[in-house]
């Protein structure tokens, strides 16, 4: 696992070499946090994207929600939510899930304008997500297109952590068990009714605090133990 993460630092430097000067290069120039650092002392960014589908080559980001955790407290003052303006009609089925209609999307900002803020927020910090391929791949695809280099980030994935915990307990994992809103009740976390990128980012942040506190009730809580291999 150490090798893989050293791989991430390697990937970061490699991407930095190819990135055009600008927001991505600035982002990549910031070193990742030490694997030995204590999560309780760290700042972590929980993020969620809503998209029109699963394929970054065909689908678009519809909205971005994120919130920072600082020393194990979710700071709502850092909450950020943005609707992305896209150039095509939103497929009807995804609108039903996200409640983002063409009109709401039209009132948003293009992803090109939002990406710099997103990268600025994430610089030097672990990115916390529930099921990381979506966020990783969609952000990376946009970075490739705009800045000519991939997006590289140290990732904490609550779905992966959840899977590890359930497997360790010899729990036979059923379809749906690992979904964000099915994992939360295991930690006595409330059900949020609304579904949007910010609520889901917040729900992920709370889930991570619960998981980390239960796995490492006493200090320290090493970052390396939570980092995804992806």
């Amino acid at each position: 696992m150490l090798a893989r993460f050293l791989g991430k630092e390697y990937q970061r430097k490699k991407a930095l070499a190819t990135a055009a000067p600008g927001p991505l290069a600035d982002y990549l120039a910031t070193p990742f946090p030490d694997r030995q650092s204590d999560c309780r002392e760290l700042e972590i960014v929980a993020i969620d994207l809503e998209t029109t589908g699963l394929d970054p080559r065909k689908d678009d980001i519809l909205s971005i929600g994120l919130v920072h955790i600082d020393r194990f407290a979710v700071k709502l003052s850092t909450a950020w939510h943005s609707i992305v303006r896209i150039d095509r009609d939103i497929p009807g089925d995804s609108a039903i899930i996200h409640h983002i209609t063409d009109d709401r999307s039209a009132a948003g900002a293009p992803i090109d304008a939002l990406l710099p803020e997103l990268l600025r927020r994430l610089a030097g910090l672990p990115m916390l997500v529930h099921y990381s391929p979506i966020e990783q791949n969609f952000i990376s695809a946009s970075c490739q297109r705009l800045y000519g280099a991939p997006f590289v980030a140290p990732i904490i994935d609550t779905l992966e952590i959840g899977q590890r915990i359930l497997e360790r307990r010899n729990h036979l994992i059923q379809p749906g068990d690992l979904r964000l809103f099915n994992l939360r009740p295991r930690y006595n976390l409330p059900q949020y009714k609304a579904h949007n990128a910010l609520t889901d980012a917040l729900a992920t942040a709370e889930l991570f605090l619960a998981m980390a506190d239960n796995l490492y009730p006493e200090r320290p809580c090493p970052l390396g133990q939570f980092l995804s291999n992806r």
Binding site: F72, L76, S77, H81, N188, L189, A194, D213
Partner: protein, 618 residues
């Protein structure tokens, strides 16, 4: 606010005191929140300098000695680390379930306190101020039919509006007011109400400062007076008057002036019902007539409750009627049995003596006979007692289960025997005398030769004041009724952490205060019997600070008014009135205020145990 934080706003806005904040402050609130997670057995609070709101889970909080102070559930607040209230030292605890906590920094909390008075009162150190905010929601908060049954102020307007033109002089106005025999007039400019003049204005703004009577009236009027719509409920009108310290309110209907109501009108309205009943009691010719009048007692209770009379007022109204019924029954008995062979005083005990009866109280009474009493006289008094006691029972004041009634020969005795009883109870207290204490140490002559009571009372007060052992027994007895800690979810939270399904408002809230007041009064030789009178009489002594006396009075009024509303609801539904309230029938605010009231009682019980308890005798 990020609109997507609406979920957090919604959670907070439903909860006191956040519900008092205006929309803009509520919109801004979520961004000031931090969220922390506490696993089961994690220690609480995780950091100082925050107000905590439990979003999910449960927290137990202890004081320095390790006693459980409270148990917080979803939606409960913990503000101790902000030190707004130096109420107790409940400063450490642990999560007993996995918990999610919303946190607001003390600085932000203090800023919110500055922006809303009602909000800040929630965190006030003074229980009096906290309980003050409780008065509004208690009134008619439970049942929509309450509102319909409440009386509109228009029905209290007794005469056409008395108005004058704004061009008139002060002297002309004064002449007109005395001519019409009114204490206030409305000042008009055409159809428009422009001011109000009262006797008080004439005194203070004219006579007292030597203003000439020839000056125009608008010099001394109160301009642009607050008016009230005719369909406003009397309860609300009363609140407006009390809050703004007005004694007069012009009443309008559809914008047109229809008259004026005064604070006196409202007070009269509240007691009118009981006054009518008292007249009917005096007119009653037979026991059947009295039974008929008594049938209206529950509806009197209901109407007084609807008219938002205070618990104290209702207790007085009902006790006053019981007194009248008792006196009328005694007259009927004497009419049939003939005049008494020796003088007697009919004594009321318990809640009637304290003037704190509710419409379903038991009867507690006794006969105090002149020392000229001879054994052969007892036949007469036995018959007298039976007639009255049966009559009271038929009127709904059921027989005392402990047989503390004049029909019991033990409680139908000449003065010297009673003096012997009390000497024994006070000098050699035992469980029996303690059991009787709540009845016979609250004693009041209702009718008859009431002067017989004076030497007995003098003796009781003198002996009890001097007798520390007796007071220690009274203290131990008083500690048998202790308030619960508070609430947790839909349960009553007991000391030690157990949960109860219902709250006994009488024995867990009212009786403890009654016991406290009785013990204080006896220890200080105060003759008052009513609990509030006793508290006021003892206030400002070493045993009871003025602040504590006020807090106890407010706590009593709050708990008693909850009981009245609870019983009024039961009467309305046609069920037998009782004292048991399931916590889920209490509003969040009521629970909060009850918790503070319990705290006051607990503090006083602790203080008194130190002062009067057996440990202090040596």
């Amino acid at each position: 606010m990020e609109v997507e934080l609406v979920e957090i706003r919604q959670f907070l806005e439903q909860r006191n005191p956040f519900s008092y904040l205006d929309d803009q402050l509520l919109d801004e609130l979520p961004q000031d929140i931090e969220i922390r997670y506490l696993r089961r057995s994690g220690s609480f609070p995780p950091a100082d300098g925050f107000l905590y709101v439990v979003r999910s889970g449960a927290i137990k909080v202890y004081d320095k000695s390790g006693e459980l102070c409270e148990k917080l559930g979803e939606g409960d607040l913990y503000s101790v680390t902000c030190q707004l209230v130096n109420f107790d030292d409940c400063n450490r605890g642990e999560a007993v379930e996995d918990s999610l906590l919303y946190m607001l920094s003390c600085d932000r909390l203090k800023a919110l306190c500055r922006s809303s008075k009602t909000f800040s009162e929630h965190f006030s150190a003074s229980v009096k101020e906290r309980l003050k905010t409780a008065v509004t929601p208690v009134q008619g908060s439970h049942d929509p039919t309450v509102a319909a049954m409440m009386v509109e102020v228009a029905s209290l307007v007794r005469r056409q509006p008395i108005t004058i033109d704004s061009g008139m002089t002060i002297r002309e106005t004064a002449a007109m007011m005395s001519n019409k025999d009114v204490s206030s007039v409305m000042v008009m400019q055409g159809e428009q109400l422009v001011g109000l003049v009262t006797d008080r204005d004439l005194r203070r703004r004219c006579v007292a400062i030597g203003l000439s009577g020839a000056e125009p009236i608008d010099q001394i009027m109160t301009p642009d007076p607050v008016v009230i719509e005719g369909n406003t409920l009397t309860a609300q009108a009363l609140m407006t008057m009390t809050r703004k310290r007005f004694h007069h309110l012009p009443v309008t209907r559809d914008g047109k002036l229809i008259g004026m109501i005064t604070a006196t009108d409202l007070a009269n309205h509240q007691s009118a019902n009981s006054a009518y009943l008292a007249v009917d009691v005096r007119k009653a010719k037979t026991v059947a007539d009295l039974i008929e009048v008594s049938r209206r007692l529950p509806s009197l209770h209901l109407r007084l409750a609807n008219a938002s009379a205070t618990a104290r007022h209702i207790g007085e109204a009902v006790s006053c009627l019981t007194d009248s019924i008792t006196a009328r029954l005694l007259q009927m008995a004497e009419a049939s049995l003939g005049p008494p062979p020796v003088p007697y005083a009919w004594l009321a005990g318990g809640s009637q003596a304290r003037r704190e009866q509710s419409s379903h109280s038991d009867q507690d009474n006794a006969l105090l006979l002149s020392d000229d009493f001879q054994p052969e006289h007892d036949e007469y008094f036995a018959a007298l007692a039976k007639f009255v006691s049966d009559g009271l029972d038929a009127c709904g004041f059921v027989y005392c289960p402990g047989d503390a009634m004049a029909t019991n020969k033990q409680w139908r005795q000449p003065l010297r025997v009673w003096q012997g009883y009390f000497s024994g109870w006070i000098e050699r207290p035992d469980p029996m005398s303690m059991m009787l204490s709540s009845i016979f140490f609250d004693l009041r002559p209702v009718t008859g030769s009431v002067e017989l009571f004076t030497p007995l009372q003098t003796m009781i007060l003198k002996k009890s004041e001097e007798n520390r052992i007796f007071l220690a027994h009274m203290m131990a007895n008083a500690m048998q009724h202790r308030p619960p800690l508070g609430f947790f979810r839909q349960f009553v939270l007991e000391r030690g952490g157990e949960h109860d399904e219902t709250l006994d408002l009488k024995h867990r809230g009212i009786v403890p205060i009654t016991d406290i007041a009785r013990l204080l009064a006896l220890s200080l030789g105060k003759a008052q019997v009513n609990t509030v009178d006793r508290l006021r009489a003892c206030a400002g002594t070493l045993a009871l600070s003025t602040d504590m006396a006020e807090n106890l009075e407010d706590a009593l009024e709050f708990i008693a008014s909850l009981r009245i509303q609870h019983q009024a609801n039961q009467i309305r539904r046609g069920v037998k009135a009782d004292n048991y309230v399931p916590p889920d029938q209490l509003s969040e605010l009521e629970r909060e205020h009850l918790k503070h009231a319990f705290k006051v009682i607990q503090l006083m019980q602790e203080t008194m145990t130190k002062r009067f308890g057996a440990d202090n005798l040596g």
